[in-house]
Structures are given as structure tokens and as C-alpha cells.
């Protein structure tokens, strides 16, 4: 049951091969017996899941036919869920139970999905390894001594371990694509504004974007169909028309021009990883695509640019966690100042504090022009690089990460080494583009991710290319062994 794709599960549910309740019980059972190895869930909501499954079964019995009706899923613990703790991986929100749903949560609830629980993540989505969570680090199902990537590492690990067929993630600088690559699953970061940010706890507002994480492009398309679109309550969401993202999946790739940025294949790229990427590109070429060398000259500036803009926005987005209205409050504050400083000192972890400090500094009087304003100017140059490239190619491809999943604890004491992990993914967020990570086979037993980047709002094209690749390869069907059950 847990090896079936979402489309197959939906078909089985509709043809009464099994019920959503049976499927849900099966998934919950797997979580119970396996997740102690991965720590991919922060909260498992058995009662809520079984109630949702019963309701989905009733709708199925009444003949309803939604493509996600009765399908179990997990939300990254950054999406607010009515009545279910939403911690954002932080002690600060350990006691926070939202009285409202995120738009993404609501749409998926309405679509009849069955929420199993909330997945682990780097605290406030700040990290590339899921090691900064208050709830302990998540482990990579391919090798539990390694990180699953981050910040959506819990969702990636849960999908890879086949605890759940579908999950949501968020991507501010690579947080869907990098863990998808490390865990050998398919993940899509949509165009900025394609999916509502309402009720998604903010890290960096101008970069954050929610999206699907699943085992195949087709499953991602099914999830995107349910969550894409304008939200009047998110002023930055787009009115750009929403397509049926499954409609173009089967189009042939003949004539497709794929740009390979030379900056993504140079120094720093692990050789075995590079080999897997070239093998995947060769498969696309066999299907009629043309590979074109391109350049994205400002790629090297994306790390410093991102690490000014994202912390700057985060430093003020996180000001609301002050111990006054909700969330963590220190014991017996002496006065207001003590309440603020100790609640935040005790409630936030080191990486979050580091970014708040960096961001506060970057916005300070006297430094604003040198850092924040300059970063915004460079951001426009990075975006222009991509727009120029898309004048001559349809999509851009390269590695998602410089190498495969690294060992737990190997980079936690060196933030700069950790930040370098994001070298291929950050520019996409700065430019607001859609991008995917698609499995490209294993290097030394660890998954490698092929990154596909498209023009604004061309998610359908990315899903089409990924799906075609998955028609001629079985990398996305490779699964980690189960150490013990």
C-alpha cells in the first residue's frame, strides 16, 4: 500500500480496493514502528487523521471523486493547523495551538486529504540540515548517520521512508529542493506568489514559498493543483491564471532547450554527483531535448545577497515572538525588558539568534545602504541573469546540491560551510522562479537531485520534464532499505 503513487492510491480508494481509514491506519502504523529511527514527525495526530479518513470514506461512498480525497499527507510544522500544535521546530512555539488554518492547510482539508501529523524542520525554517529543531534532528532514511537536508527535512524523510505519500514543504533558499535531493524524492518550489503564504509562519517574506514534496512529479502536480492560486488574504499571491498541472505531463520533450549554467558545474561540485546529473541530462537529450551552455554571471553573489535579505526580513518577522501574547514566556520576569530578553533568549535557538542579529545589523542606520540596499540591487541583477537566459532556453538544469547528504553534526559548528550547501538553490528564490529537484540516481548509495528551473509561472513545464524523465528512469522508485521494522 505504501509503495503506491498518489494517483494509484486515489484509484484504489475510488474502486474500493481499500478504504481511506485502512490506508490511514497503515500509514500511522508505519510511523509508529519506523519513525523513531528518523524523527521526521514532531506531532502525529492519530485521532484527527482517523476522523478525517472516516469523513473521506463517507464522501467516497457518496460517489465523490476528488483526486486527493482520502489521501494521507503530512504538513511541515510551519503551516498553521486549527487545534493542532504548530511549533515551527521552536521552543518558542512549543505551546502554540493555532485557532486557524493556513490557506494551504484549509485547501487540502477541503480536498479531503487526511492529515497524519506535522513534520520536523529546522527552527523557523532556518537551516539546511534539520539539525536546529527544538525537537531533535531528523535522520536521513538512506543513512541515519546523515542529515536529511533542511529545512523541510522531516517532510522529505517521511516521504522517502514511505511513511506518507505526500507532504508539504516550504522553500526560502532551497528548503524543499535540497532535502528532496538528499532523500531521493521529488520536490517543487513554485513561483513566488503561486501558493498563498497566509498561515505559513514567516521566515523571509519575500522569499518564502510553500510547495509539494512527493515521490514523483505527477504526485507533486496533483498536490500543486490543490494549493495553487490567488489568495485575497495574501497580498503577494498572484492572480496569474492557474493551470491543471497534470495536463502537460505527457507532452514529448522534442525541441526542448535546456540551459546548463557553467557556474553550476564548476569547482565545488562533487564528481560523483556531477556524473549522475550528466547521466540524467543524457536521458533528457535522448528524448529530444537540446543541451545549451549558458551563463548566470551573478551566481556567486547569491549567497551573500541571500544571507543579508533573508536575515533582515527574519529579524523583524520574528519580533512578534515577545512572550506577551502567545508562545514561550520566561518564568517570573522582573520587568518588561526582562520579559522580552529572557523569553527570546530562552525561546530561540542559536541559528535563529544568529540570523536575527545579522539581519538587525544589516538594517541598522549607517549600514542599510551598504548591506540591505546593495543586496536588493544585486538581487535584481541575479533575476536579470535568469530572464536573459530564458530568452534562449526553455528551462535550466543542474545539480540541486554540490554533493550528497552530509554526516550529522559535521557542519553544525561551521555556519559558513552550512550556508555553502545552498549555492545552487538560493538564486532561484532571489529571482522568484519555480524550480524542482528530481531524483537522478545514487552516488555511493546516496541520492542525487537534478534541479530544474523554469521561467515564472511555468511550473507545468518543469513537471512535464520531470515526469518524462521519470517515464524513462526508475530513480524516483528507488527506496532506502528499512533497517528494522
Amino acid at each position: 500500500m505504501h509503495d503506491l503513487s498518489v494517483a494509484e492510491l486515489a484509484h484504489a480508494l475510488r474502486s474500493r480496493e481499500f478504504t481511506s481509514t485502512e490506508l490511514t491506519r497503515h500509514c500511522l502504523q508505519r510511523i509508529r514502528s519506523l519513525d523513531s529511527q528518523y524523527n521526521s514527525f514532531i506531532t502525529v495526530d492519530e485521532a484527527g487523521a482517523l476522523a478525517a479518513a472516516a469523513s473521506a470514506d463517507a464522501r467516497l461512498a457518496a460517489g465523490e471523486q476528488g483526486p486527493l480525497l482520502g489521501i494521507p499527507l503530512a504538513h511541515k510544522d510551519i503551516f498553521c493547523t486549527t487545534g493542532l500544535r504548530t511549533s515551527c521546530g521552536s521552543k518558542m512555539l512549543d505551546n502554540f495551538v493555532p485557532p486557524y488554518d493556513a490557506t494551504v492547510t484549509r485547501l487540502l482539508r477541503d480536498a479531503g486529504t487526511v492529515l497524519l501529523g506535522k513534520t520536523n524542520m529546522d527552527e523557523f525554517a532556518m537551516g539546511s540540515s534539520s539539525e536546529t529543531s527544538f525537537y531533535g534532528n531528523t535522520r536521513n532514511p538512506w543513512d541515519t548517520a546523515r542529515v536529511p537536508g533542511g529545512s523541510s527535512g522531516g517532510s522529505a524523510a517521511a516521504v522517502a521512508a514511505r511513511l506518507v505519500p505526500l507532504a508539504t514543504g516550504t522553500d526560502t533558499g532551497g528548503s524543499i529542493r535540497q532535502p528532496a535531493a538528499f532523500c531521493g524524492i521529488t520536490g517543487l518550489k513554485p513561483t513566488y506568489g503561486r501558493v498563498s503564504r497566509l498561515g505559513m509562519v514567516a521566515y523571509a517574506s519575500s522569499l518564502d514559498q510553500g510547495g509539494p514534496m512527493a515521490r514523483s512529479a505527477e504526485d507533486c502536480a496533483l498536490l500543486l493543483n490543490a494549493i495553487a492560486g490567488l489568495d485575497p488574504l495574501d497580498s503577494t499571491s498572484s492572480a496569474h491564471p492557474v493551470e491543471d498541472y497534470t495536463a502537460q505531463l505527457r507532452q514529448p520533450l522534442t525541441g526542448l532547450r535546456i540551459g546548463l549554467p557553467r557556474e553550476y558545474f564548476g569547482e565545488g561540485l562533487d564528481t560523483a554527483t556531477g556524473d549522475r546529473i550528466h547521466a540524467a541530462l543524457a536521458l533528457l537529450e535522448q528524448q529530444g531535448a537540446t543541451l545549451v551552455d549558458i551563463t548566470l554571471p551573478h551566481t556567486g553573489l547569491s549567497i551573500p545577497t541571500y544571507y543579508i535579505i533573508a536575515p533582515a526580513e527574519a529579524s523583524t518577522n520574528l519580533s512578534r515572538y515577545d512572550g506577551v501574547r502567545y508562545g514561550y514566556r520566561c518564568e517570573a520576569p522582573r520587568d518588561l525588558h526582562d520579559l522580552y530578553t529572557r523569553s527570546r533568549q530562552e525561546g530561540f535557538g542559536d541559528e535563529v539568534k544568529r540570523r536575527i542579529l545579522v539581519g538587525t545589523f544589516a538594517l541598522s542606520a549607517g549600514y542599510y545602504d551598504a548591506y540591505y540596499r546593495k543586496a536588493q540591487q544585486v538581487r535584481r541583477l541575479i533575476r536579470q541573469d535568469f530572464l536573459d537566459a530564458f530568452a534562449s532556453v526553455d528551462i535550466i538544469a543542474g545539480p540541486t546540491t554540490p554533493g550528497p547528504a552530509f554526516g550529522l553534526g559535521t557542519k553544525t559548528s561551521d555556519p559558513l560551510a552550512m550556508y555553502l550547501e545552498d549555492v545552487y538553490t538560493l538564486a532561484v528564490n532571489l529571482a522568484g522562479l519555480p524550480a524542482m529537484s528530481v531524483p537522478a540516481g545514487l552516488a555511493a548509495g546516496l541520492p542525487v537531485g537534478l534541479q530544474l528551473i523554469g521561467p515564472h509561472f511555468d511550473e507545468a513545464r518543469l513537471l512535464n520534464v520531470a515526469h518524462q524523465l521519470q517515464q524513462v528512469s526508475d530513480w524516483h522508485r528507488q527506496t532506502p532499505g528499512e533497517a528494522s521494522e
Binding site: F79, A202, P232, R320, R325, Y326, L363, S364
Partner: protein, 488 residues
């Protein structure tokens, strides 16, 4: 030393929108604490602001009302600071690109002179909540009902030169925004709050002196007092050879003094940067034009019209045109009674006088425009005299009914029956032979004075209800006859 006073005002004006500037919560004043604060106002995780179009419309209306440049593209910024009544830890405001640019309006001073005051800019922002220090032992209560109420911050040029000018500026501004209908302008409820920037410089000097900012002065009277106090304070410092410190001061109405706020707050670095949760506000010129076409008549234009159409004096016109409710009331009285001058007189003297004495707002007046006009009609058609009219008005104010029923019930109708009046005139003449003799012996000038005595007696006899014109005519007639008799 002769000092020139330089004043600029920043006014925070609450806009009269139904809902908040970035959320759907209501904005009514005086609700139970924290009953008008939604998840956005509470800065719950993941909540996002959505701009209220009505607030933008009101800002544009204000801009058009002061002849300002309208920012077709304006940008919201975050102003960062920690305070318990600021739930997000930042205020959404406009810093570098405000919606309203440079404009101006004219103020009229008591000596009738007019000065043009420049407006630097006006921008949209959200109000904070309130910290309640009373009623909580050793604790502070937070009421977030006000958090997110739309504010227009209106910044003047340093063009004002006295407390009188500052008050005239605020009254004119009040009159403008209430006429536009964009704010209730209620200073007591905090709908209009004023920060005063004040400095002194030697008369004739061009350079500005160091200014102090006085925060949150919330009545015309306090503005006047705070300015007087601050002028004195700064002059004392400068004359003693000292330097004014650039700082923020608070006006304490109870002690009538300003005092320095903690320097820590003055030294805030607000770390302004563009609000990433909102797109730049881009508005079309055609939208601005359509708002311009639907603007209500502004006080300055109304004043001119009252002078031209109703023949009012400049003073009467400026009193009656200043606030829309009063102007509307006045025009309704004119329409119903048909006489602009008597209406102007009665509205200003009797109506405003009674409102003042009773400490009531116009909207609470027990006598409405139609009722007042009905009374004035009775004066105009001679049914009662103006003097009796005042009695009737007082009875109406006390809730005794409309003009006609009071006149009827109290028997106040003017006596215009010539037979009855003739009898009364004869009686008075008969009863006062001495005065009649004096009258007849007097010259023309003295006769006029003496006739007043007889009129008084007749009015007394009629309980004030004799038609004065007819009394005069009949009295002159009978006195002339009396003189005729005496001669034959």
C-alpha cells in the same frame, strides 16, 4: 532678545473606515478591551496584512483637499521597535514614498488675516494598541482594539509662528477632514492627536534653532498651553546662554508643563525597510480624478458661497461654514424658513449658545433644523415677536414640544387685533395723564423718548404679546388726538 517662534505640527488622524487598515476587524471607539482585535491585529504567526482600499481613498481625498501631489506609487515600510501595544514588533508605515506629497491650506487668524501653511507630506500607517496602567496593580493591561486603526500622519512645514497660528491650523485641519468625511476628528477620543515641533531663533535670523518635539497633545487648549510653556522654557535656556537639547518631551496637562521623555526612546533606530508582505500601492490617475469629481464642498468654498448666496458677513460665514454638521444644519434652517440672515443669527446666537451652556454637541441638540425653522417662520410672519421667540426656543429646548404648540399652549400669539390694542392704548393714556401732558409739551426729540414709556406700559399690559408695530401706530394716533383735544 526678541525670539521668533518656529512651529511645525505632526497630526495623527484616525480615518473613519469601518474596518482596520490591514485587517477586517472593526474600528469603533469604546468597545470592551480586545473585542475588536483579530488574528492579524494580534500578530499571530503566519498572519498577513491586506490593505483597506477605503483608507487609501481617504488619504487621496485629503491630498486633493490640500492641493497636494498624489503619490501614484507609494510604498509601505516596517518601522521596528518593541513595545507591548505593538504586537508585530513593527509598525507598518510609509517612510520614503508617502501617498500624499507637498500641499498647503490657508488659515484665518482672529484679526482676519490669512496665512498659507505648507504641508510637507501625509502618509498612511497603522495605530498601535493602548497600554492601560490604571486598574492593574503592578501590571500593565494591553488593549489591542485600537491596533491597526488607520492613521493619516499629516506633517506641516515649520511655517507656524505662534500658539494662535498653531490652533488656527488645527481648527482649519479639523474643519477640512470632517468636511471631507474622512475622520470624526474627535480629539477627546484620540481621533486627532498632535505632536508639536518647536524651536526659537533670533528675530530676523534665517537658520533654524534646535527643536524639541512635544508628543501627543490632545486638545486645542492643551496645544496652546503647551506651546506657551515650551516657548518660555526654551527662551529661558537661550537667554541664560544655554543650548536647547533636541529631544522628545511630554506635555503634562495636569501640571501644565513639558518634561523630557527617557533618552533611550529618543535614540531608537527604527530600521525602516520596505514591508515585504505588501506590494507597492499603485493607483491610477483616473481613480484619483474620479475621487476629485466626487469630493464634497470644502470649507473655504462653502464660506465664499455663504457670503455670495446668503449675504452673510465674512465672520458669520466662516463660523457657519467651518464644520459640515453646522453648515448643513444652517442650510436646512434657511431652506425651511426662507430667511438666511435671521437663520444665521439664531443658529449662531441661540442654538450655539444653548449647546455651549448645556455642553452638548450639535448632533445632541434637542431642537433640530426643521423645528428651529418652524419657530423662525412664526417670527417672520408676525405671529410672535423675536423676544417671545426666545421664550419659545427655551421651551422647545426643554422638550415642551414644537413652536406652534408652545405658542398655543402658553397663549403667546402676538396680539394684532386693532380693537383690543386700541383699548389697551386708551387705558394706558388714561392712566398716565401727567406723562401725556409732558409728551404734548415736548419737542420732537423728547417725544420719541417719552413714547417708549407708553410702549413699555402697553407691552406690560399685553404680557409682551402686543404687535409692536401696531402699538406704535395706534399710540402715535391716540397721542396726536389727545393733543388735538387739548388745543380745542
Amino acid at each position: 532678545m526678541n525670539w521668533e517662534v518656529v512651529i511645525g505640527l505632526e497630526v495623527h488622524l484616525q480615518l473613519a473606515t469601518e474596518s482596520k487598515i490591514f485587517s477586517g476587524a472593526a474600528t469603533r471607539f469604546g468597545a470592551e478591551p480586545n473585542t475588536q482585535a483579530c488574528a492579524v491585529d494580534l500578530a499571530m504567526p503566519g498572519m498577513l496584512p491586506v490593505l483597506n482600499e477605503q483608507a487609501v481613498r481617504y488619504a487621496v481625498m485629503f491630498g486633493l483637499g490640500i492641493g497636494a501631489e498624489i503619490g501614484l506609487r507609494s510604498v509601505f515600510d516596517r518601522k521596528n521597535y518593541f513595545y507591548p501595544d505593538l504586537p508585530k514588533g513593527y509598525q507598518i508605515s510609509q517612510f520614503q514614498e508617502p501617498i500624499v506629497g507637498r500641499g498647503h491650506f490657508d488659515i484665518q487668524l482672529e484679526d482676519g488675516s490669512v496665512r498659507r501653511i505648507g504641508i510637507t507630506r501625509a502618509h498612511l500607517e497603522e495605530d498601535a494598541g493602548k497600554s492601560l496602567h490604571e486598574d492593574f496593580h503592578n501590571q500593565t493591561g494591553i488593549d489591542l482594539n485600537r491596533a491597526g486603526t488607520p492613521l493619516l500622519e499629516i506633517v506641516s512645514e515649520p511655517d507656524l509662528r505662534s500658539a494662535e497660528e498653531a490652533v488656527a491650523y488645527l481648527k482649519t485641519l479639523h474643519s477640512l477632514v470632517t468636511s471631507l468625511g474622512i475622520s470624526d476628528g474627535n480629539m477627546a477620543e484620540g481621533s486627532m492627536r498632535c505632536d508639536i515641533n518647536l524651536s526659537l531663533r533670533p528675530a530676523g535670523s534665517e537658520a533654524l534653532g534646535t527643536r524639541a518635539e512635544i508628543k501627543n497633545v490632545n486638545s486645542f487648549r492643551f496645544v496652546e498651553k503647551a506651546i506657551h510653556h515650551e516657548i518660555e522654557r526654551q527662551a529661558d535656556i537661550l537667554e541664560a546662554g544655554g543650548q536647547v537639547v533636541q529631544e522628545t518631551r511630554l506635555y503634562d496637562a495636569e501640571r501644565d508643563e513639558t518634561r523630557s521623555m527617557r533618552s533611550k526612546e529618543v535614540a531608537n533606530d527604527y530600521r525602516y525597510f520596505p514591508e515585504p508582505d505588501l506590494l507597492p500601492v499603485v493607483i491610477e490617475q483616473s481613480w484619483v480624478d474620479s475621487i476629485r469629481a466626487s469630493l464634497p464642498e470644502l470649507p473655504a468654498a462653502k464660506r465664499e458661497r455663504f457670503i455670495a448666496d446668503y449675504g452673510l458677513s465674512a465672520y458669520d460665514a466662516s463660523v457657519l461654514a467651518a464644520e459640515r454638521p453646522l453648515a448643513d444644519f444652517y442650510e436646512a434652517v434657511v431652506k425651511d424658513c426662507g430667511d438666511a440672515k435671521i437663520a444665521a443669527n439664531w443658529v449662531q446666537v441661540e442654538l450655539l449658545g444653548q449647546l455651549n451652556r448645556s455642553d452638548l454637541a450639535l448632533s445632541q441638540s434637542p431642537v433640530d433644523a426643521q423645528a428651529l425653522a418652524a419657530l423662525l417662520q412664526r417670527i417672520l410672519d408676525g405671529s410672535i415677536s423675536g423676544k417671545i421667540g426666545k421664550q419659545v426656543f427655551e421651551a422647545m429646548w426643554a422638550g415642551e414640544g414644537d413652536a406652534d404648540s408652545i405658542i398655543e399652549a402658553r397663549g403667546l400669539r402676538q396680539v394684532s387685533d386693532s380693537g383690543a390694542l386700541e383699548a389697551m392704548v386708551s387705558e394706558v393714556i388714561r392712566a398716565n395723564p401727567e406723562q401725556v401732558a409732558q409728551y404734548l409739551a415736548a419737542d420732537e426729540n423728547r417725544r420719541k423718548k417719552l413714547s417708549g414709556f407708553f410702549v413699555g406700559q402697553i407691552m406690560k399690559l399685553s404680557k409682551g404679546q402686543a404687535n409692536p408695530q401696531m402699538v406704535n401706530d395706534l399710540l402715535n394716533q391716540q397721542l396726536a388726538n389727545a393733543g388735538g383735544h387739548g388745543n380745542t
